[in-house]
């Protein structure tokens, strides 16, 4: 455990994760899924979190909601949340089923999931599901809750909201269900919305519509969003800042522009190079990252990315874990050679 004194959060800060560790006890052994993740979200800001499958981005998000699986151990770290300027809540000190935590879930923090097809209860109408949440957190009556549900469905631009409120999930298309899901997550005006790959299961056209909707809702309601995705294109579209995760660690954070134009970490660079670009010389194969994501029981020594890194230096990278190097602006990179890597050849 670190014994540093806890820094007070700056006034614009909404959520701060500091050195969060999440482990899972499995039959095969202990899986260290999240190893010291620190990031923060400011009020009204969109933070994009990018990473491959298994990088721990969803697990980190669920630890904010305290919705981890039962075999999870929150080994270390602190999560602080400030829904109102005067009230700071230490989420990591709350228990999963505590009253305070339940008041945060759905009340101050909304969450949207990846699978709109299965993330809504099949036996309750859309309206019932929204009304339950509204009645729970707002303490209003049935009629008022129903009114609120219709209003929310209108806000997420579902056609004929007064009829939609009595529809069941199986009667809606994927895009419509995701809109209903958003309405559900936003039903109590949360100050933070966690969107866990909300467009991954949708086709590209619907994806664009949902992103537009989220952007306009964010402008209108002013909530902050943590947008988890593996798609850099989506991040560029919606995020203000980006955190790139690899094997349970944040390897680089920075503004969208910094990440896209001045990526500092070899992993970020490699990810960006694996995306096709318009105007690129034709007939060139896209670059791939060599190797596979290591299996969680054999995490490499030193920098976890070193076996796949094009710039790895033996003797340094495979021995010592790098610390975070901060740059002017808000960019910070977890690499031994941050700022010393050769300019990219495009």
């Amino acid at each position: 455990m670190k014994t540093t004194t806890i820094q007070p959060m700056p006034p614009e800060r909404l959520l701060e994760l500091d050195n969060v560790h999440v482990h899972f006890t499995m039959r095969e052994g202990l899986v260290k899924a999240v190893n010291g993740v620190s990031y923060h979200v400011n009020r009204g800001e969109v933070l994009g979190i990018v990473g491959e499958s298994g990088s721990g981005k969803s697990v980190t998000a669920r630890s904010i909601m305290k919705l981890l699986a039962r075999n999870a151990i929150e080994a270390e770290g602190r999560i602080r949340f400030r829904p109102k300027p005067e009230s700071e809540i230490d989420i990591s000190a709350l228990s999963r089923q505590s009253r305070e935590m339940r008041a945060l879930r759905g009340g101050s923090i909304g969450m949207i999931f990846q699978e709109p097809m299965t993330a809504l209860s099949p036996v309750h109408s859309i309206g019932t599901q929204i009304m339950r949440t509204v009645m729970l957190h707002r303490g209003v009556g049935k009629q008022a809750a129903r009114q609120r549900a219709i209003e929310l469905l209108e806000r997420v631009q579902l056609p004929k909201p007064a009829e939609m409120v009595d529809r069941y999930p199986h009667q809606l298309s994927g895009g419509m269900r995701q809109r209903a899901m958003i309405a559900l997550a936003l039903s109590c005006d949360p100050s933070l919305l966690i969107a866990d790959e909300p467009t991954t299961a949708l086709d590209v056209t619907t994806e664009a519509q949902i992103l537009e909707l989220l952007k306009s809702l964010q402008e209108e309601m002013g909530m902050a969003i943590i947008f988890i995705t593996h798609n850099f294109g989506v991040v560029a579209d919606i995020a203000d800042r980006v955190a790139v995760m690899y094997l349970g660690r944040v390897v680089e954070t920075g503004s969208v522009d910094d990440i896209f134009y001045r990526p500092g970490h070899p992993y970020t660079r490699a990810l960006l190079q694996s995306i096709p670009k318009l105007g690129q010389a034709p007939m060139r194969r896209l670059r791939t990252i060599p190797g596979m994501v290591p299996d969680p029981f054999n995490i490499p020594e030193g920098c976890v990315f070193n076996p796949r890194c094009a710039h790895a230096v033996l003797g340094t990278c495979n021995v010592e874990a790098p610390s975070v190097v901060s740059f002017p602006g808000e960019q910070s990179v977890r690499c031994h050679f941050a700022g010393q890597l050769p300019e990219e050849v495009q």
Binding site: R102, E115, S121, H137, Y168, M181
Partner: protein
């Protein structure tokens, strides 16, 4: 919804006609008829009946008519006059034999079904939400024991224990002195003191199976994303579990309500025989053995009507509880 129910009821009519005909035919299928069985019984007890007398009996009972004529006579009497015919063996109207026992059968069976559900659902939900806990294993062991021990054996053991240790009067539903007494508080207490054995016996077997079903269903449902969504709305664990996955996991239960109804009627025949219960099961068994065709036929007809009505009820319940069925 109304249209759905109406269509289902319309479909029930041809089903019942076919079922009544088939059940009548099946009862006639074994070689011989009631007179053959009756004569065999008489000879067994040393009496003598001549072939002429047999033929006379057959003619009186209309057993020589073609089967279709017999069926027509039987079914028109039921539909037009509510007359189920005459039991050949008991020499009494079928309806008086059946309805007497039917009330008690329904009482015992409904009670044991409610008991079954009251045990199986909460225990199944608990075992699933606390999978691999100590209590889950304990319930699993009891589940397999309850499923593995035959009902009639359990009935025998319980009767013996109640008789030998508790000095209770077991078997049947009433002590002899209350048999023909009017209904009083004492009679009800006497009934309850007899009723617990059949209810416990019937409920344990059923609950053991159903709790495994409930546990498996719940485990399926608990892993689904909508459960996580419900947690993410800030609902407490109890609200989530009972409000969402249990609702979906109950569907298989609801769809078996329909089969419960005929099972209620036929009861657990062996258990009923062992416990000497005046229910319908032993009577049906006897009627089939004696080829008492009007009695047996009426039994099977009522059983089929119950099946059809039961299925109808469970269809309606299912449509009410699961919108995916209502709209597709």
């Amino acid at each position: 919804m109304a249209g759905f129910i109406f269509r289902r009821i319309l479909w029930a009519i041809p089903t019942l006609i076919v079922v009544s005909f088939i059940s009548f035919v099946i009862i006639q299928l074994p070689p011989g008829d009631y007179v053959t069985a009756y004569a065999a019984q008489l000879r067994h007890s040393g009496d003598y009946i001549s072939l002429e007398q047999e033929a006379l009996l057959r003619a009186q009972m209309g057993l020589n008519d073609p089967m279709i004529v017999q069926y027509w006579r039987w079914i028109t009497n039921i539909v037009l006059y509510g007359n189920f015919g005459h039991s050949l063996e008991w020499n009494a109207p079928v309806s008086s034999l059946i309805w007497d026992r039917l009330g008690l059968t329904l009482a015992i069976s409904t009670l044991s079904m409610l008991f079954t559900w009251a045990i199986a659902i909460p225990v199944g939900v608990y075992a699933a939400t606390r999978q691999y806990s100590v209590l889950d294993y304990v319930f699993t062991i009891f589940g397999f024991l309850g499923k593995g021990v035959p009902d009639f054996l359990l009935a025998l053991i319980l009767m013996w224990m109640a008789f030998a240790w508790l000095n209770m009067d077991v078997g049947g539903l009433l002590s002899p002195r209350y048999q023909n007494a009017p209904w009083t508080i004492d009679k009800v207490i006497n009934l309850l003191s007899h009723l617990w054995i059949p209810v416990v016996v019937l409920a344990t077997g059923g609950a053991a199976g159903l709790l495994r079903v409930m546990r498996a269903n719940m485990l399926d449902e608990l892993g689904k994303p909508y459960v996580e969504t419900a947690y993410a709305q800030g609902l407490s664990e109890r609200q989530v579990v009972w409000g969402y996955p249990v609702r979906v996991a109950l569907n298989p239960f609801i769809s078996t309500v329909g089969w419960a109804l005929p099972a209620l009627f036929s009861g657990d025949v062996i258990t009923a025989v062992v416990l000497n219960l005046p229910t319908t099961g032993p009577l049906l068994l006897q009627a089939l053995k004696m080829q008492d065709m009007y009695l047996a036929g009426s039994f099977i007809l009522i059983l089929s009507v119950f099946t059809v009505i039961g299925t109808l009820i469970s269809d309606i319940l299912l449509a009410w509880s699961d919108p995916r069925i209502r709209y597709s």
